[in-house]
Amino acid sequence: MNETHPSIEHIVDYLHGELSPAEDAAIYAHLASCPECDGKRNEEVAITEALRAYAHATERDMPPGLAPRIRSVAMQAQPAVWQRFVTGFRPVVMVPVAAALAVAIYIGYDSWHHAATPTSIQAASYVNNHAAMAASAPFGDAAPPLTLTSDDATR
């Protein structure tokens, strides 16, 4: 079999539990046997731990009484209808709204794009599955070594 190393993105996805069960198992098995990739995994773990530790260390509590004061000021300042309308066009509101729209459009396009792009399946994957089930026919060929399609079944 061809030995291929997972990409760093795959290792990161593996660490975050974002792979399919088959991919997860394949990476798990690979890491157990590949010191090089296991080293990359450990580096990623170390970076994540360092960032988490830094975030914890730099956390600051808000001064006592700040939150109630903000809430109180917000309740007192009730703008008129026209003021609220104009406020709606201020950059502080419009920029996040525009960003949210852009993200929604991107995700929508991306989903549509992926839905329109069919999964590529190698002829060899079909043939291997066919051969495995047909192996019991009288004088049938022995079933070929099984590969997981997550590994890419081309052999």
């Binding site: 098995a29 999964t119 590529s120 399946i121 079909y126 022995a142 070594p145 997550s150």
Partner: protein, 337 residues
Amino acid sequence: MRRASTLIAASLVATSLGFAFAREYRDPLLFAAIAAPANVSYAGVVQVLHIGSRASEADVYRVEHRAPNLTRRDYEAPAALAGDTVVSKGDLIFSLDAPKHRIVEARNDAVNDARVLNSEYELLSENYRVEHRGDDTVAGRRTVDLALINKYSHRMTMLVRIDAASKIALDRQEFGPSGVLVSETRFEQIRYAQVTESDFSLPKNFAVVRDPTLAETPAQPDAVVPSAGFAARAPHELPDGFAPVEGDFVEMHGVRMLHLLYSDGIRTFSLFESGTASKLEAAETQTQSMRIGDRSGEYAEDAATGVLSWSDGSVQYTLVGEVGLVNLAHLAQSITP
């Protein structure tokens, strides 16, 4: 056992359609050869050749078989398979992937069950008559040669050279619809000896990865089609002598598919169906566009095996088999007229 019920049902279906059991074609030597692996242990070297119209493929593996149902194959060639090992134990099959230190566990469909053997022999003998073709020598052992003649096309579909003493099939040549050789499986060496059970032990330090569909229970094609979860359908017409054998679900690249197998006792073809669109790709040869009625499809060959894939807009269909492009295209038309 599950295949037995399916195949027996298939035989009954064939009978109800008017196929009379051609018992006069039954041959004790042929049946003994089909049943021999359940009774005879051996070790040897096997060479497998698949000859396609565009590409051919050869495998060489060492085999150790302990009757009735322990088999180990260690691949020596081609380079892509060299070092791989397959161990089958009853109804499970384990593919050992040494570079990745893992074992892929799957269901073994090639179970040496007496009822299965009887049923499969029944299907074969319905569609083929046996002609004795003299003697020969394979791997230094005397063989008796049998030609299996398809009773519809009257062409030889398979030539089997059977060890006169052990009844193991030492060489089998399969011929395509046009009569040309499409595959050969031949023992280059064989010795009959007791093979110890420890030869089939699996390495303990390997991670075991289960095939995602291992838990699926195969059933008759008619039974699994309604449970596909999409508008799956079976062929309206089958090539002469073919009967439905088995159906289950498989997963390829994350796409769940219905898999139906059909056989005439020697030749087989599979129909895969999915509610998810997919595109056929071939690693070593170009896919070829072709028309299936008013739909466009893609055809590819993997050695001698043809793969034809098309969609009706909601279901993706893929036919796989060594039955020839004409038969595959005809089948495709019968599925989505």
